[in-house]
Symmetry: C2
């Protein structure tokens, strides 16, 4: 195909927006987290902008903000559970992908396989699963544990988890259900393959009580950046979310992941790498900067201190003048390298405590782009054409306003440059992302030679 | 209030209908289980009929039908997961309650509390949870177990489960979220109550990351008929589904449960007892009988034999002539009393194997009513006015046709008699059922004396 390669775009949505103080912004809906009309408006807006998908992060706990409830009480702590929300949004959208994070650490593969298959049917093939492991104590405390699961064990469990889930999605062949009223045959018995999985973490007989999803599998997304995380992603992910600050870093990550993917015998084009971008859009550069400052001014010192405390091992900074220097910090058990990084940053740039928390509070590790629609499009294009990204995960600072601006101002600029679609190419998320439909591992290859080239069936051993 | 007491009605829905061969019926949609348009049509039809709620049973496995895949392959084995389906249906309905079974045996309270709270927000206070325990081996095999959990332990777990779930629903006071953009206060810290539950089965710190549901708690439904099941229901249920065949049995069950409810200090009116009814509607009695026979004729012998085998301890009947007598059965380990009951029935009524499976295959233990709209209304009224029921759980034999007939023919007859609403009374499921909104156990009673009379807060000990 001679068609020009185009960007993939996800709209990464949080209740009132990504900025830590978003809910206080005049153009943000403060009660957005539990307001269906809010999400309906946003999802339809993203679909009008031809985004590939909307995406919700998730955790199974209220996110802690430093010590006590003071910083917490100034933060958005309640919101919809994403699978129920996406199911509802499937009814008011037609084209856009519907993706959510669900952890492998505190879930069971049968439940997860079922719910995502169900969402894939509700939406006609638009579901996506962001596979994560849970690494916070607050989540552990809601699930009978004192501490979160050790890193290596978490990833070992995650690997087996995705193996079980994909086996369950494969257990019915695509054409198993004949539903012949006359003969009374609902499915053809030889097209049922009972997984009967027995592994270290899971024993799951199956079959699933949902048919094979319209997409074969819902699109599998991952964001792990550790060695274990990258290995798992290279074997199983089709979309990779990542946080990268500079083009050089993004290029290194991009080429590294694509090489890893090839190492597992997969086609590197079948994995889309999409760094996060936190865009602040103005009619002029100056206006964009002012808008950013306006957001930063909304960060209550207790929230900023809570965030910063959390990043330096829980050390309480509330006794120190917020416009004074960072004090000497005691040794801590956890997050040592991050503590050192932040201390170095504060010393090198001569930052006050306030300046330090402001530096980390906005995009929370993702790339902030301030600018006009043209300069923002320039920067996205730069990474896209120079081997830094296959697309981007757009993180609107506040909602609905921040997404509206991106759709009205930046998307048309990308379309004018031929970098982004003006119509959806396919019916499913998988088709729009340009990903192959996974072959069913149980279907006899001789019957469907044209499907052999698809890659995902390689990931698991057939019992 | 002098308003005449009225029936409560649930529409208990299965993919293509309740009859075991429903999917083969000319007026049934064979692919209904995974067809959203099908469920949208049904839900809107039930809402047009002013039903209190639609309700989905559920299990976390394909339901086994005898040995092997032969009988299974003639049965509806795949369908939507109910919480995702109800979330989608919340968008296309306005008034009707949305209830689903979720088991306490293979779930975690934090997930369940979240998802139902989320559904309650999506639907504006229309969620209902049918609390069950899982008692099949096929479910156990999907969740790392060889055998299902022992009865007493299951109920012990269920009791603690509902305690944790309701604590999580109560952890935010109803007016905790002020979301004051000016001051930056999102919630008032003294209106957060961290459950910090530590019990035999669960350690769950909380808080929940969803606000207190619009209904306080989604309506809690139960169907357990064992001694343990009835004790749990008397303490925690607000709606009780039950299978009763005769008015005398129904009256005994009704008065027994209401007495149990009173024993726990609850108002017996706050628990609605709704037996299942499987209606076959004709313009004449004769036509209703013909319609029933037409359904029965659709039961493939292998499905009938599979059902029957399952009920007599797994004994394989396929070697015996289907129109001959039931053979002598060997002793089995499980389900002895049911085996004896069926053997006695076959001997007493001189039934062939076919006649025996036909006798048990239709409503599967629920009451079948064949008749005209008038005689069906007569029978419902009889139970309702004579202390047998507060309402009914209507189980359409085939869908959408069977529900359509009930809404078009029987509902108007009930309305003419003043036995059923012509408009919804309230905005929430709880309001329509006439149930009180549960008081938050953590809210200081002195602040809200008018709420003290509500009963559900008594069920749990405050830490």
């Amino acid at each position: 195909m001679s068609k020009k390669r185009q960007l993939k775009l996800g709209a990464f949505l949080m209740s009132s927006g990504h900025h830590v103080a978003a809910w206080r912004h005049p153009q943000a809906r403060a009660d957005g987290g539990l307001n269906f009309q809010h999400f309906q408006q946003i999802a339809q807006m993203a679909e009008r902008g031809k985004f590939d998908m909307i995406f919700f992060a998730d955790g199974v706990a209220v996110r802690q903000r430093g010590q006590g409830t003071d910083a917490l009480s100034r933060s958005v702590v309640v919101h919809f559970e994403p699978l129920t929300l996406l199911s509802a949004l499937s009814v008011v959208t037609e084209h856009i992908g519907l993706a959510a994070t669900v952890s492998t650490t505190y879930n069971k593969p049968y439940h997860l396989a079922r719910k995502f298959a169900s969402l894939d049917y509700l939406s006609g093939g638009r579901a996506g699963w962001n596979l994560v492991t849970s690494a916070t104590e607050t989540e552990a405390h809601n699930f009978n544990r004192d501490q979160h699961m050790e890193h290596g064990l978490r990833y070992e469990r995650a690997k087996e988890f995705v193996d079980v889930v994909t086996k369950l999605w494969d257990c019915w062949e695509d054409d198993a259900f004949v539903r012949d009223k006359e003969s009374g045959v609902f499915f053809e018995p030889d097209k049922l393959h009972i997984p009967n999985h027995k592994g270290k973490h899971f024993s799951v007989r199956g079959p699933l009580n949902v048919a094979r999803p319209p997409q074969g599998y819902p699109v599998i997304i991952q964001a792990g950046s550790s060695e274990d995380g990258q290995e798992l992603a290279a074997q199983t992910a089709e979309v990779i979310f990542t946080a990268q600050q500079t083009l050089a870093e993004a290029q290194a990550f991009y080429s590294g992941v694509k090489a890893r993917v090839a190492k597992f015998g997969r086609n590197p084009d079948d994995v889309k790498i999409m760094p996060g971008v936190f865009p602040v859009i103005g009619r002029t550069e100056e206006e964009a900067k002012e808008k950013y400052e306006q957001l930063q001014d909304l960060i209550h010192p207790h929230v900023g201190l809570g965030l910063l405390s959390g990043m330096i091992g829980g050390f309480d900074l509330s006794q120190y003048p917020v416009d004074g220097p960072l004090p000497e910090l005691p040794e801590t058990n956890g997050g040592k390298s991050r503590q050192q990084l932040l201390t170095d940053l504060a010393r090198r740039e001569n930052l006050t405590i306030r300046q330090l928390y402001l530096a980390i509070a906005g995009a929370r590790g993702h790339r902030t782009i301030l600018g006009t629609p043209v300069t923002i499009a320039d920067q996205l294009e730069d990474w896209f054409v120079n081997g830094g990204a296959d697309g981007f995960n757009i993180m609107p600072p506040y909602l609905p306003g921040g997404l509206d601006e991106f759709v009205e101002l930046v998307i048309p600029e990308l379309q004018r440059r031929g970098l982004f679609r003006t119509e959806y190419e396919g019916r499913t998320l998988r088709e729009n992302l340009g990903l192959p439909r996974p072959v069913n591992r149980f279907t006899k290859v001789a019957d469907s030679p044209e499907l052999v080239s698809a890659s995902l069936h390689k990931l698991s051993i057939i019992d």
